[in-house]
Amino acid sequence: MTERLSGGEMLIRALQDEGVEYVFGYPGGAVLHIYDAIFKQQRIEHILVRHEQAATHMADGYARSTGKPGVVLVTSGPGATNAVTGIATAYMDSTPIVVISGQVANEFIGSDAFQETDMVGVSRPVVKHSYLVRSAAEIPRIVKEAFYIACSGRPGPVVIDVPKDTTDPNVFFDYEYPETVSLRSYAPSTRGHSGQIRKAVAALLAAKRPVLYTGGGVIQGDAASELTRLATRLGFPVTNTLMGLGGFPGDQEQFLGMLGMHGTFEANMAMHHADLIFAVGARFDDRVTNNPAKFAPDATIIHLDVDPASISKIINADIPIVGPACSVLAEIDRVVEAKMAEDPDALDARALADWWRRIRGWREEHGLDHDQRHRKGLNGSLLPQQVVQAVYRASNGQAFVTSDVGQHQMFAAQYYKFDAPRRWINSGGLGTMGFGLPAAMGVQFAHPDGTVACITGEGSFMMNMQELSTCMQYALPIKIINLNNQALGMVKQWQDMQYGGRHSHSTYRDALPDFKALTESFGHVAYRIDELDELDDVMADVFGAKHKNDLVFVDAHIDAEEHVYPMAIKGGAMNDMVLERVDGRDDIRDDL
């Protein structure tokens, strides 16, 4: 027997039928019918946020840490526009979220009604797809399609704009949730072209100076174990993009660290000197390639991506493969295994040994463990790198780590060695300050027993710190590590390096709150650290049994003069990097 449900009830029932556990949202006039339907059920838990942007980041953090779609519910007008930054964040990093926004009733659309915004129009450039519900009867089909589109192919955010009249509690419909979707115009690739795969294998086996350059596609595509198996079989060096960290275990000898603007010396040098680059689920972002015209001059490029539009967008691919990373890497591994069984000398072992010798040379010359990086701060204060290393030790490398945007993000990416996918959660594409705390909350909801650390800076933290209240309401035991340099550190770094040290609007030294008192006022636990000596003891407490159920805020006052190195030199090739500050100035090495 089919049930008779109102539009609002159908919407919530459809979410239940999709297996949704949490909806992150904020009520308002246009969604009150939907909120009433939420009130009358128990299967979905609604999380009341303090700002709609945070709701989208929570859903995003939930999605990134689980692979399941995150769901957001906001009202029309300002509720919807507040969500846009979070939608754009999810779009740039290809994460599956479904955002349901209220809308004024169909009959008022276009009349500049109270809290009316053309949400489909406003969000159009930053969604994978969007829907405006014209009649309640469409709701089950639209929800089904929205989840399918959000999660399949290259994932991304989908908006469903729901006019108030379509959720009228007094009008009932036969509810049936569709089992399948039929979209004639949307058929994401499910496997790679076998001819291209054979070509790729031949190129891999012939390589003398190969690099596996892998990105967020390996994480989102659940291909980390396939990547690790293939990389281990080949013995090739692996570098990850900012989005790809955790795709290959970060503590392995074979791992070169992150590449790109603040990538390791060895990773960037290896990329520049490679004769073969196998890009997997990475998109040759400008923060990776530096000047595309000077990118890896000798390299043959194999590019595997689920999205054909990513291939040959910036750097021309010699061997393009369209398909999901997971199945294509597995297929490549099968073919490689067979070839190596046929011919034990299939790989050029001598060339590879030479290649590794060069890479180890670079690692010794300027690896992340370079002595320089362990010095005390210039004025005897704490270094941000030391704080991240302490977090890594205290959490046994097993935490989910979210970050905001800036220097702290780069330090976290460089020094926390992720050994599994979906552990490192940051806004890489859009670079959204304010992402870290709400994303950590989404992760904590998804993993109630997991250790979740948010490595942030005071600038980013202040962009969404109202969510400390939400953390209090839902008792989320997040560990917030605030790398406090009393400045917008990355902006300041650029001003130091490129604008003659003129700190135009990047500091606010005398206008910061007492973060310890601030967090404590929300009922949370807080520490302040100024000295290296205190660091490990405090971190042991923070990540130990003592504060298992507490939100702990660590206000770490770090050396405000510290810069992130290496740093790519603008307009250069990947081997053009500033490596360290010498005598108070940034040493630009162009002799490499």
Partner: protein, 163 residues
């Protein structure tokens, strides 16, 4: 390089705005745009002329295909094709000019579809170059108003764009 793309699109509210939005968002150029439902009323067909080198056109095609409501995209300029544009043009025609404009219209195989005591409205179909040539052939000061449909295109012979 000028390119003519034929796009089959779900005939739904908002679908066209995604196509146009894509061009604006990715800094692609639209020279002409022509759209109407096809014989299958669930589909619209767009003919769009744009410019760019090969890699740019490849990117445009890929990004168009990424739109959920885009069913098919074909670059008509890849092969033999026909293209036509419709122009309605209002021309001042008084005294001796009336005969001259009519003669010019005949040469270009146009049709006068509306007449007043001092103007003709002429309908002309052809390639965009032919329409340009007709405008040039007229006395510049005589042209009162021009409306052009944008190019419609179709592949030659048995090349068919359908589902």
């Amino acid at each position: 390089m000028r390119r003519l793309l034929a796009i089959l699109l779900e005939n739904e509210a908002g679908a066209l705005s995604r196509v146009i939005g894509l061009f604006a968002q990715r800094n692609y150029n639209i020279e002409t745009l022509n759209v109407a439902p096809t014989e299958d009323e669930t589909l619209s067909r767009v003919t769009l002329s744009t410019t760019g080198d090969e890699s740019r056109i490849e990117q445009i095609t890929k990004h168009l295909n990424r739109l959920i409501e885009v069913v098919k995209v074909v670059d008509l300029t890849d092969g033999d094709h026909l293209e036509r544009e419709l122009m309605l043009i209002k021309v001042r025609a008084v005294g001796d000019m009336r005969e001259e404009v009519k003669r010019c219209c005949d040469i270009f195989r146009g049709q006068v579809i509306d007449v007043t005591s001092d103007a003709y409205t002429i309908q002309l179909t052809g390639t965009s170059e032919k329409l340009d040539a007709f405008i040039r052939a007229l006395d510049e000061t005589a042209v009162l108003e021009v409306v052009r449909s944008g190019v419609s295109g179709i592949g030659r012979a048995d090349k068919i764009l359908s589902l």
